[in-house]
Amino acid sequence: MSNLTREESKKRVWKVCGILAVVTAVEIAAALSHYKFFHESPKMLLNVLFIILSAAKAYYIMSEFMHLKYELKAMAVTILAPFLFLVWGIIAFLWEGNYWLSSKEFWDILR
């Protein structure tokens, strides 16, 4: 349970709402300006930015909206630790996808 008073937690919710809205607006603005002005340049750097901003949004939703920040730390660790498996999943399957791509290129069946 949080130690915040009713008024404080009310204010906090709208503050987090503002943060999420601003982050989303920044993402959209970045995506659109790339599309309009830098269409030819690679999107790699921008994608890294999107990953970081999405992680920030996930942090605020879980810690404030889902109240995880105010639960016992052990509980937060139990919930978050299994997601480490996803790091393996993402690396392994993107690696695999890349291999499929090079196979297709090799056999000239890229489509």
């Binding site: 659109l32 939703i61 909206f65 993107l94 489509r111």
Partner: protein
């Protein structure tokens, strides 16, 4: 050694003290959400693998991966405005998450009227989101994008789009139904009689999770 441990005041989870100082129902909702996260992660990682195995966007190659700015560029009554409609959908979902938190807070205050008010806003937000998605699906199907055809590029894009946004939309719809039931129960005074509004908190966890998943669906389909 004393063989029989005296059963002292039995409460919470019957062991005297609840693990993590949280109710059984709430921790079980969390565990359900962890498993659901892995389901969504499985879908999104498949998306990543299949996308990686396709040629990068190239207007001259119909089998290359489509550019989201070209696929998602319409809303009800407007065209050639990339990502604008999905921005509206995203804001709707964020706002409905906020109204859900407010409902939980009014539940802590045992304010039945307040809970009802904020639950109504949350349900409206959910409905607006699902209906927007229905509009977008209809529009894309008219444009010729289905699970098996895609005029914008790789066929897999359409298949994955309908699979993943469909699974997310299904979660939103279930959330709207559960929230409507909770609104009715609040109106009937079920939680007031029970002495706490924990049910609203559990539904809140589910609802925020749906919002959280959207962050990543949005990232995969609309931003990357």
């Amino acid at each position: 050694m004393e063989a029989t441990a005296k059963p002292t005041a039995k409460e919470l989870w019957d062991g005297g003290d609840s693990p993590f100082r949280v109710s059984y129902g709430k921790i079980m909702m969390w565990y359900f959400l962890i498993s659901d996260t892995f389901t969504f992660a499985g879908l999104l990682i498949s998306y990543g693998a299949i996308r990686t195995s396709h040629a990068k966007h190239d207007p001259t190659n119909i089998h290359s991966w489509p550019d989201p700015n070209e696929v998602f560029n319409s809303g009800p009554g407007f065209h050639h405005a990339p990502l604008i409609f999905v921005t509206f959908m995203t804001f709707t979902l964020i706002l409905s998450s906020v109204t859900m938190v407010r409902a939980v807070q009014e539940g802590h205050n045992m304010n039945r009227q307040g809970v009802m008010k904020w639950m109504i806003f949350t349900i409206i937000g959910g409905l607006v989101f699902v209906l927007s998605q229905a509009w977008e699906w209809t529009h894309l199907i008219h444009e010729g994008m289905t699970p098996t055809t895609n005029p914008f590029g790789a066929t897999s894009f359409g298949a994955l789009f309908f699979l993943i946004t469909g699974f997310h939309g299904f979660h939103v719809s279930v959330g709207v139904l559960l929230n409507s039931w909770a609104l009715y129960a609040t109106y009937k005074g079920v939680f007031e009689k029970r002495g706490h509004y924990e049910m609203i908190e559990k539904l809140g966890l589910y609802w925020h999770f749906v919002d959280l998943v959207w962050v990543y669906v949005f990232l995969a389909f609309y931003l990357f």
